[in-house]
Symmetry: C2
Subunit: 430 residues, 2 copies
């Protein structure tokens, strides 16, 4: 399928795009200098929202699950980036143990796993899959929609090392966000590289930490570019105690909503944006399942609505107690009338491709996280892959994608800052 990208790209002309293209050498050098100080996340996918008036990351996934949506044409980039990543971490590595998501068994996820196996095999590793599921006592063969087999084997822990039967890996690549907690078999592994590290999992990670780091990164980058960081930064706030029935919690959420709406109104006035501001309230700990509450007027906000929105699905008690309140960023991109949000995928410091999440029949301020979401590869088959610095903003798919790649990498860099700040072992190295 060749997506009708043109539709998605005829949004309002974006001054940001032009500025980023003109500053490309300075931007790339700035990233190079940042990577001298900070370690990129092993892999990552960043959901973006292009509001026309601003472009901001809305979620930074350190256990990406959509690599099957990348076009085959982009895959050599992923292989090359994986080679660069492996070379730095464990150049003598023969074996890579991939631990897939325990609760993901969709056809799409199996294709994603196959894609990961393909990329890391071609980067020069023997890849095998291991499950932490204690009920799995023998290798299990799963078949994708295309009929290809994936074998998942039981993990074997030998004192300080983790592996499979007759398989001792140098690196263990986690593709499970561990939202339900860190299984014992993955704890206290000091002889092997476990990537991403455990504190990147949703067992401990908090969105508010990430967006705090992202704000820092966005300010640095905006200073380099001589621009207002708000153009790329979704403002946010955090409430730590929002238990069911807590008046103080409701008050915290309400006051932050009010403040964020007021700040947005000022920005809209400053830029002459004729939109109605909104904020979203969501669980600060990650993982889907918890709802997202959209607030346009704090008078709509009451304890019942808040608890209903943040209640976890049955079996995932207790409910949410920490929330993040964030400036709502509507999406102005469309593919065939349907709302589209770009997703940028990275391996090591490199953008290896992207895709659109597309959902018909949704309003521009709603979440696209729903089972009916379909995915469209960002396919540049019809156009030269590289940005054309002279082209009119919005007219060139690669130009638009360069901008997405920059903001995606800012979010990934923010994750690097975040993981440094939250590293439980950081003090050991001071």
């Amino acid at each position: 399928m060749v997506p009708n990208l043109v539709t998605a790209l005829t949004g309002p002309i974006n001054e940001l795009e032009q500025r980023l293209l003109e500053s490309m050498p300075a931007i790339e050098r700035w990233f190079r200098l940042e990577w001298m100080e900070h370690t990129p996340t092993f892999y990552c996918s960043v959901d973006l929202r292009n509001a026309g008036y601003k472009l901001a990351p809305v979620a930074t996934d350190l256990f990406p699950a959509g690599f099957n949506h990348l076009t085959p044409q982009m895959l050599p980039l992923a292989v090359q980036a994986a080679m660069a990543a492996i070379e730095k971490i464990c150049p003598e590595a023969k074996n890579l143990l991939l631990v897939p998501c325990a609760h993901c068994d969709s056809a799409s996820y199996l294709e994603h796993l196959q894609r990961l196996v393909q990329v890391f095999t071609q980067a020069g590793l023997n890849v095998r899959l291991g499950s932490a599921d204690p009920d799995l006592d023998a290798p299990q063969t799963l078949r994708s929609a295309t009929g290809e087999a994936l074998v998942i084997e039981p993990l074997q822990r030998h004192r300080t090392r983790l592996g499979l039967k007759d398989f001792d890996p140098c690196t263990i690549l986690l593709n499970d966000d561990l939202r339900a907690g860190v299984p014992r078999v993955l704890q206290n592994l000091y002889e092997q590289y476990l990537l991403p590290p455990l504190h990147a999992s949703w067992a401990t990670r908090r969105k508010s930490h990430h967006f705090h780091s992202y704000e820092e990164v966005a300010k640095k980058f905006a200073k380099l570019m001589g621009m207002d960081p708000w153009l790329i930064n979704p403002m946010s706030a955090h409430c730590g105690q929002v238990e069911a029935g807590s008046d103080a919690g409701l008050e915290c959420v309400r006051s932050h909503c009010e403040a964020l709406l007021a700040r947005q109104r000022r920005k809209f006035k400053e830029y002459g944006i004729a939109e109605r501001p909104f904020v979203v309230v969501k669980a600060d700990a990650g993982g889907m399942g918890a709802g997202v509450l959209t607030v346009r007027d704090v008078r709509e906000l009451d304890a019942a609505r808040l608890q209903r929105a943040l209640a976890r699905p049955p079996g995932q008690e207790p409910g949410v107690s920490e929330v993040i309140i964030q400036e709502g960023v509507p999406t102005c991109e469309r593919i065939d009338e349907a709302m589209a949000e770009p997703v940028v995928c990275t391996i090591d410091r490199y953008v290896v491709g992207g895709y659109y999440r597309v959902l018909a029949g949704r309003a521009s301020d709603e979440s696209l996280q729903a089972p009916e979401t379909r995915y469209v590869s960002l396919d540049f088959a019809e156009s030269p892959m590289l940005p054309a610095r002279g082209a009119r903003p919005g007219a060139s798919a690669p130009n638009r994608f360069y901008m997405y790649g920059v903001i995606g990498r800012l979010a990934m860099l923010a994750a690097a800052y975040e993981l440094e700040a939250t590293d439980p072992e950081a003090e050991d190295y001071d």
Copy 2:
């Protein structure tokens, strides 16, 4: 233009392709370990010949000039590889000075230069072009066939540093093979990175050194693969004193031709190859212009023929005195009935693409280095870019290209060995 690659790929099934694909993780790991010990050439292009019974490099160009033949789809790979290269050499670099070939002014070469500028700009560098031509005293604007402008400025030497007016680069990228000698302006630069180093230029480089290193690399690789190195190695020999009228020189060439033809006959018998062996005799110093002499029977070889073949064009006296005698490798690949030879391009340790040199009306044992040569991108738009490990050998363009990429990288690794062995400053670091 979409080349009819299928035609080029329906040669005899190549066992080598299958073996390389099956061993992909081991091969990539082997390269990773080699790059821990050796420094890849900054960029490179390798001409290959696929004889059906063997696949061998026939020329390793450390000043490649055909990047314009890479498909636009492959360019992000080149940008990513350039980022990796710059990051290692000079991560804080802002500026790159590109010194183009002084005697190359074809439309194709200008497109190649534009491509290089594009790749390194997008990798995050301000790129400007400088000429060592002493007659150039003001910036000169050249226009490519597509109307794009390239400005070439006079080089400025300030004591130990080389630059342009108001332009002080960290790295100087040479794209001139300096066959006519090293201009003074490029000598004794110790504060900046000059890449490739001067001893990679044809002012001093010798093909025989390269193929000596390649033989070493091919043997190591063949040992890893448990195969006969002859399948990837063109046998060669060297004569150092072949001045016009020298009987000893003619005798040296003749005896090596005889020996190589005999060794080929034994190999053909061993593998049941129904071909007539031949050898080629060419100047050991590089640069086009000098001829190539094909010998099938040493009785054909006399002093007059040898001198005629090796005479330099007028103005490039003196004539050749050192020659390399090499096993002839015919090409069995065809695109639309025309002979085709694959060329693999690398930046840093990465294969960034390739193309076919195609010439109709040539015999399979002749050189394709001629003005009428046309170039066809290796375009994989119709097929998944990544090798399919299960596919029938020869049936998959990406599979065939993986094999080309491996042999291309072996030749590039050989160039790394060669440059270490011939480094005039190596003893300083002992």
